[in-house]
Amino acid sequence: MSPLFATNIYWHLPILIVVISLVYSATRFEQWRSIFVEAFRWGLRMTMFLFAIAALLTVLAYVI
C-alpha cells in the first residue's frame, strides 16, 4: 500500500465529515430527503472550509 494511503491521518476526514453532517442533519429534519439534502450541504460547507484553511496555510508557508 502506498504510504500516502497507509499513514496519512487526513484520510479520517471524509469519514468524520460524512457522519457528522448526516447525524447533525437528522437532528434537524424528519424526512429522509430533507436529511440527505441538508447533510450534503453541510458536508460541502465543511469541506470548503477545510480546503480554505489548507489553502491559507499553504500560502502562508510560501510567504513566511
Binding site: L16, L22, R28
Partner: protein
Amino acid sequence: MSSPQRTYSPLAGLLSYLIPGLGQIYEGRVGKGILFMVCLYGLFFFGMYLGEWKNVYLPDSARTNPPPINMPNVATNIYNRIQFAGQFWIGIAAWPAIWQYNDLPVPSEQASSFWHDFQRAPYERRAGPHQGPRTGYEAPFDWPGKTLNEIQAEGDKTWDLAWVYTVIAGVLNVLVIYDAVAGPALGIALEPRRVQKEPAV
C-alpha cells in the same frame, strides 16, 4: 397557518442518552434511531479502537494535579480530563470509566486484562528501574503494556485523533437527545413538501 404543537418526551430523551437512537426507536422513528445508533456507536468504538482502548477514562488526579482555583474533586478531575465531559454524553458506553473511577470491582488482570483495564485511567509513563514508590500514573518498570508516553512517542498522531472521534460521538448525542425529547430542531412543519400532482382526469 399555525405550526403543530410541539410535544416533549423526557423518557425518550433518557433512552437516547443511555443508547444513542433508542429514544427515537421508542417513539416509532426506527430509521432515524438506527442511523444515530450506528453512526454514533461507530464513531465512539472506532475511536476507542484507534486509541488502543486507552482514551475514554476519568483519572483521579485532583490531588496530584490541582487546578488554579479551588473546586470539588469531581470537577477537578473532569477539568484535568476535559475530554470526558464530551465522552460522557454517549451514555452507557462511557459508564465503565465512572465504574473504574470509583474503584468498583473489575475482573482480575489474569482473568481478562482487557476488561481489567477497560476505560481505566492508563499509565502515563514508566517508572525507572530503581525508583522508589510509584505514583498512580507510573507503570512498573517491567510492565508488559504500553504507557501513553510510549504510544505517542512510537506512533503518529492517530492516538490524539482517536479521542476526537469519541468526543464528537458524545457531543453529537446531545443533539440526538434533544431530537428524542422535542423532535427535529426545525420541526416537521418546516419540512419542504413535495408538490402533489393532480390525478389526470
